[in-house]
Symmetry: C2
Subunit: 396 residues, 2 copies
């Protein structure tokens, strides 16, 4: 009875569910503190106290019909105005409220953007490893995801390969920085070169190519590394932002799009995003949380647990002999598997109660992802398990 | 730069925007209380006080990581359990939490459902007049909207025409009761006959056809008329519900789907809805409001203003000589235009500062919709304008 495409999706999602159920089974046998679940990107740090305060204040001070009511599909004007002002000041740009669209998180934002831009059979380029939902989002709009590898040392995009993969059908290039699953931040040089290559190809093919940056982890960075701001590098650019991670509000579905004020056909793009928000069934980003966001601009979650976890894992795993990329941001660590088969490695890891996600799930076999947005104690307790896992290969 | 389909959508939506801007212009000239805006289905009654109380309580009592965190894509288990129990008791059915999917309002729910069920080129039947977004929702999933007329006296579906429009491609039949724009409630007989016709056609074509009821106005009814509950009539049935109207929370995007427990391939359907919620970018219905809903089951907005508006308008317009259908539910009144051209009638009405929506916008020319979810004073002040409008035709 369900559609053919959905049947395939249900089948593949039941594999993920099986993994999840297996984790639950292990926890019921060994106890939840004896199973080291690095599989989920679900922030464990509490939302900042300012969020609760803001909600109470809004309910006390603002009219309920306004707080919970309809507004323009792009979001409340005053909220967009505040975000635009904050963004302009923070990143030394000049965006106005008319360049902001409030969305149901980054997932909603990307779908609204794709609905606006993509014709069937258009191509969207991503760099492996990439967040696997991008494939579904492109598919929703009958576009084709084109996968370009990253440089295997830096995990910055392989620019030569990128250049070769751009075709007349390329409508958008989607990057994700700080990156899930690698924790890499795309550098100044990367953005500059991506932009140059795209501009040359726009000339060659005679039409625009959008550079889209998905940035839910923008605020989750370590060692004060700066995340370059895309609008300084490229004009046909859109930034997709979400508060799911920066404020630990993933269930509330709140985020926004920032469109470069000089993007080609800016009026059409903005009108299209407004229409897409409506007709895809989002209608608008949840209203109360739009108002909460406007009252808490600049507030961030406490990153100290993520940072401690990153440091401990990086040092310990490196010392053991694993090939680990030191994450600059997000709460993921990407590790080379000592055997080529990353799925087998994950099975082997499970014998030590370690739950990891194979790199294949991100289009990058031979690696695994550890999501370290978990309690620091769990990380500490997992270290002997990683040691045993390493030794199990060393012995062979 | 935007997609071809989106260009058409932007063009047609700019017509609606022009109407809206014209309303704003009139209000700035004549004063907002001298312009009678019956064009928007935006509830003007405040949300019940219980909503604010529930939010404060949840923030005080429940863990922030849980309240604002990720859950299963179908929604919190305890929330779905409470809704299932409430629904089962209220309508004397037996649905479990496994048959409920929390959605971003009814608009989100319909898109999630369509994504799950529809193959490209499948047909979805609706009855004119119908809520115009249905066309976009079908289009999002490359399905075809097939429009069947209603009986022009009762505005119940024309069952004979219905039977003739079902084909081998028909995958779903979408009804909306209480109806936007007519205010009609589909009767016991209508549901029984719709179901019988569908069952016979399922036999003929050898595959299931879903009967979907979009019910955001279920709670907005007058004179204690009962809205029959679809699950008692049909097995391949899904109810799409939203709290936008019953609790005046349209901005919060909260609603749910109820799937008949014995629907064909129930496990696939439920798994598909879960996947669709995720991949369309909704991910889940906003988390705080899921919890609010679970705490306020059975709470409703005060209907007295809507009812007063309905009564005054119905009596006055009928007395003047307009052909008006007495609304049984929702907050819309559907009125025959004294001239055939309903768009011209709306233009004429604007000369008296009356803002109405032509029936053509709902696939039913020769009528107009009045949305009476506005202040009672505005309705009272509009009566002389309707009188002048009527007289302007009488004179000709």
């Amino acid at each position: 009875m369900i559609s053919n495409k959905m049947r395939d999706l249900v089948n593949s999602s039941s594999l993920i569910r099986a993994m999840f159920e297996e984790g639950k089974r292990l926890k019921s046998i060994y106890g939840p503190d004896k199973v080291f679940d690095f599989s989920l990107g679900n922030p464990n740090v509490e939302p900042p106290k300012e969020i609760v305060t803001a909600i109470h204040e809004i309910l006390d001070e603002e009219s309920p019909s306004m707080v919970h009511g309809y507004m323009n599909n792009s979001g409340y004007e005053d909220v967009r105005e505040k975000i635009a002002a904050y963004t302009s000041e923070q990143y030394n740009t000049q965006v106005g409220k008319e360049h902001i669209v409030m969305t149901c998180g980054a997932a909603g934002g990307l779908n609204v953007l794709f609905k606006t831009l993509l014709n069937p059979d258009d191509e969207v380029i991503v760099f492996a490893p990439f967040f696997s939902e991008y494939r579904n989002y492109a598919n929703n709009h009958h576009a084709k995801l084109v996968i370009v590898p990253s440089d295997k040392t830096s995990f910055q995009p392989d620019l030569k390969a990128f250049e070769q993969h751009i075709t007349d059908k390329t409508k958008a290039v989607l990057i994700n920085s700080p990156n899930n699953p690698t924790g890499v931040i795309y550098s100044h040089e990367t953005l500059e070169q991506l932009s140059n290559i795209i501009k040359a190809k726009e000339q060659e093919y005679g039409h625009g190519i959008f550079l889209i940056s998905d940035e839910p982890y923008r605020e989750i960075v370590y060692d004060n590394i700066e995340v370059p701001y895309l609008l300084h590098y490229h004009t046909n650019a859109v930034i997709v932002y979400s508060y799911s991670k920066s404020l630990s509000l993933p269930g509330e579905r709140i985020g926004y799009l920032v469109v470069h004020p000089k993007i080609e056909d800016v009026d059409d793009v903005m009108a299209g995003l407004n229409v897409a928000n409506r007709i895809l069934g989002f209608v608008n980003a949840p209203s109360l949380f739009q108002r909460v966001i406007a009252k808490t601009l600049g507030v961030k979650v406490d990153l100290s647990v993520y940072e401690k976890n990153r440091n401990v894992l990086y040092e310990h795993l490196t010392q053991l002999g694993f090939g680990v990329l030191k994450p600059e941001g997000a709460f993921y660590l990407f590790m080379k598997t000592p055997i080529a088969d990353d799925k087998q490695f994950c099975k082997d890891a499970k014998a030590f109660n370690l739950l990891l996600v194979p790199g294949s799930a991100f289009g990058c076999p031979g690696y695994v992802r550890l999501a370290y947005c978990i309690a620091h104690d769990t990380v500490m307790n997992s270290l002997p398990a990683f040691e045993k896992l390493w030794q199990s290969y060393d012995m062979k």
